[in-house]
Symmetry: C2
Subunit: 436 residues, 2 copies
């Protein structure tokens, strides 16, 4: 019987494992609870009405159609029986494996304040993105009709918590949406006067980048009119406000880009994990005591060559996935020695509004318009298939040439003023949301 | 003070009224409970994963941004106070008018069987379309994992009730999705063997078209492998079956394209209506006894030049909208005489799968590949803006050249087997759904 590989999770890491095993004498079961692979680095563009959902997501089956040895299963994994070598699915089904790869990712987390989730929206899934899109657009609609100046100001205040790449990119795009795209559409409000507030507990924005790029990003954000509050942690979120340091700011829209919590892969295995729930894997990406179980991507923590943890970005997950595929193939050839994973940092990128970006290649740094062009070309290159590439390129052309954002649709949920905060649709999104 | 026009509903009819009043000395309030104008003729393509939502919907505000005299309000209308000349909004707000245009459309209706709604999905809004898309894709996913042959057969049976243009187009596209796009993606099932059943109570498909085009459509549908049941009305819908004539067919997916019910515009005014709730307007499209109130589109019934009712299609609603704008402008010039509306039938179109369509121009008829090209060109022409045109053209190119459908995303709702039928997401969609 052929060696059975089960890959759980069809994100960047899991997909790379399946790709890397092409041609190997294995049968693969590819499990995800979603039917699509998601290009998460551009998810904030769906949240800000710049791109459509179908431009950054692909049916998993369509990505492996020409691999007859791959069986795709759409299901929730509920655990792993490491002794019997079974993955457990909802409703008691089991999937046996010889090698298992856990690539189950992470969700946003609220540092022990789960009650903030209904007010501070996270951004990890397509539903998260369309929920944020609806909330932003409804806030402008409600402000247009609001006559109480205080309530109107709260509706026109958009707070982003966390100034990593996602927070910075969200803040920049929301500011541009308000200042460039929307003003001509409204009669009673000046959308250009909307406040975009970026709150960061650390001392600088883009904490993972070199100091001078952080400085540049901060200046660029302020040039876009974004208020950046550094060194202040959020201490409370409600339906009407956010509290950070000694400031209580009235707002109807809080977006959470601050913390993540790994999937329960470590719990499934009873394996050691860090504070964020990330599985602590061996240097060869196997789980301690289980050489047949690998884990990759945002659900693990592993140190890079500089002794620092490998960052939670797409290229890292892909390198890990590729490494696991190579290891499995080597073992099938009888080469069973441990093969430590070596992370090569290819670069970190962040866009800060139109025509501004920062790139840290490690050996060199870039910022400004050239970095922005590289950022755009790199992202289009990494999309899957010519249709998505062409389609995203067209949308970006329209945004940049004409300030038109095509996906300004309020769907799935009420557009009523009193429904903001706890809209009907979010209950649903929430039900699909946190993986616990 | 300027003449105040209030237009309720931003479909084809309402939008045409606003367009037609360009340059007139009026102030316009444009009210819709959605933030977008929807190109309904292509909604079935969203439901079948062929197009993205943002390709057939446009923010209403963006369509009237260059018309400073137009104020757009996103709100639910709850009634009309015809005596005081006020439109009533949710939460007790009122909008005064001098001329009122009701273009509030219609919803699907179940001939007194409202309990069928949770099983037989209607198609009028973007949420309806993404719900149907999810249900179709989840049915294939569930069939792939199902081991009981009877249950598998029910999952692979797709029933469409009503063989008007929408029903025919849905049936054709679902058949192509199953036969051309999906087969290579699945391992356990042959999606090409999925049953698509089209049920029609009348004696032929496309009842509004000439006999020979109906015949051609029927042959084309059967060539696509679609089972067409004519002359049999549906007598029951459940979570697991549909009953028509003496047949009880096991199915998990029923799509309702049979009946519509007009918006409650007639109730708001206490005006005469037909059985489907359509307001019976005067020949000049005003409401009896209220020359200052007009009604257009699917919410009215009015006779055409041949004595037959004007059909409920986009071009008819547009002509009516244009006529109302002309009448209001004439009255402002002091020309207050009644101006009867004359409907000119420009053509009815229906697509029956790839490279087959029927067109009835009245003075001539077309069918086959030429009709299909015209159908495609006409629909792209009637989309709004070059971005949407380009984007739809690209998607169609990929579908026709490579059988790839880009929008095969299961979102908003559970993808679990036991959740089909009453998925969480549908509760939400339903809450936004029927306008009562």
């Amino acid at each position: 019987m052929q060696h059975r590989v089960v890959v759980v999770g069809a994100g960047f890491g899991g997909l790379e494992v399946v790709k890397g095993l092409a041609g190997a004498a294995v049968s693969i079961t590819f499990i995800d609870r979603r039917n699509h692979h998601l290009f998460q680095p551009l998810l904030y563009q769906v949240a800000t009405a710049s791109l459509a959902t179908s431009e950054i997501a692909w049916p998993i089956r369509s990505l492996v159609w020409n691999r007859p040895e791959v069986t795709t299963i759409l299901a929730n994994v509920t655990g792993v029986d490491a002794e019997r070598r079974h993955v457990l699915l909802e409703r008691g089904e089991t999937v046996p494996y010889d090698s298992l790869v856990l690539a189950t990712g992470a969700r946003h987390a609220y540092f022990g304040h789960d009650e903030w989730e209904r007010y501070a929206l996270g951004l990890k899934t397509l539903e998260d993105a369309t929920t944020i899109r609806r909330r932003i657009l409804v806030a402008f609609e409600c402000a247009e009709r609001e006559t109480d100046p205080e309530k109107q100001a709260a509706l026109l205040t958009f707070v982003i918590v966390g100034a990593g790449p996602t927070g910075v990119e969200l803040a920049g795009t929301i500011a541009e949406l308000a200042r460039d795209t929307l003003p001509r559409d409204f009669r009673n409000i000046d959308t250009g006067r909307a406040r975009v507030v970026l709150i960061e507990a650390g001392p600088r924005v883009l904490g993972g980048f070199p100091d001078d790029l952080s400085e540049y990003a901060l200046r660029s954000l302020r040039k876009l009119g974004i208020e950046v509050a550094l060194g202040r942690a959020v201490s409370d979120c409600t339906a009407d406000s956010v509290t950070y340091g000694d400031v209580r700011l009235a707002t109807k829209t809080i977006i959470w880009a601050a913390g993540v919590r790994a999937s329960p892969a470590a719990e499934w295995l009873g394996a050691p994990a860090d504070k964020a729930g990330r599985l602590q894997v061996m240097p060869d990406l196997t789980v301690p005591g289980h050489p047949e179980i690998f884990a990759v991507g945002d659900t693990v923590t592993v140190n890079g060559p500089n002794g620092k943890p490998v960052p939670g970005i797409a290229p890292a997950a892909k390198q890990e996935g590729k490494h696991v595929a190579t290891t499995i193939k080597a073992r099938l050839r009888g080469d069973a020695g441990p093969r430590p994973f070596h992370y090569r940092h290819q670069g970190s990128l962040a866009q800060i509004g139109k025509r501004r970006a920062v790139i840290d290649f490690g050996w060199t740094k870039l910022r400004g318009a050239l970095a922005w062009w590289l950022w755009g070309i790199a992202h289009i290159y990494f999309l899957i298939g010519s249709r998505a590439r062409l389609s995203v390129a067209i949308n970006w052309l329209w945004i940049h040439a004409r300030n038109q954002r095509g996906a300004r649709l309020i769907t799935q949920g009420e557009a009523r003023i009193d429904a903001i905060g706890v809209a009907a649709g979010e209950e649903t999104a929430g039900a699909n949301g946190p993986r616990k």
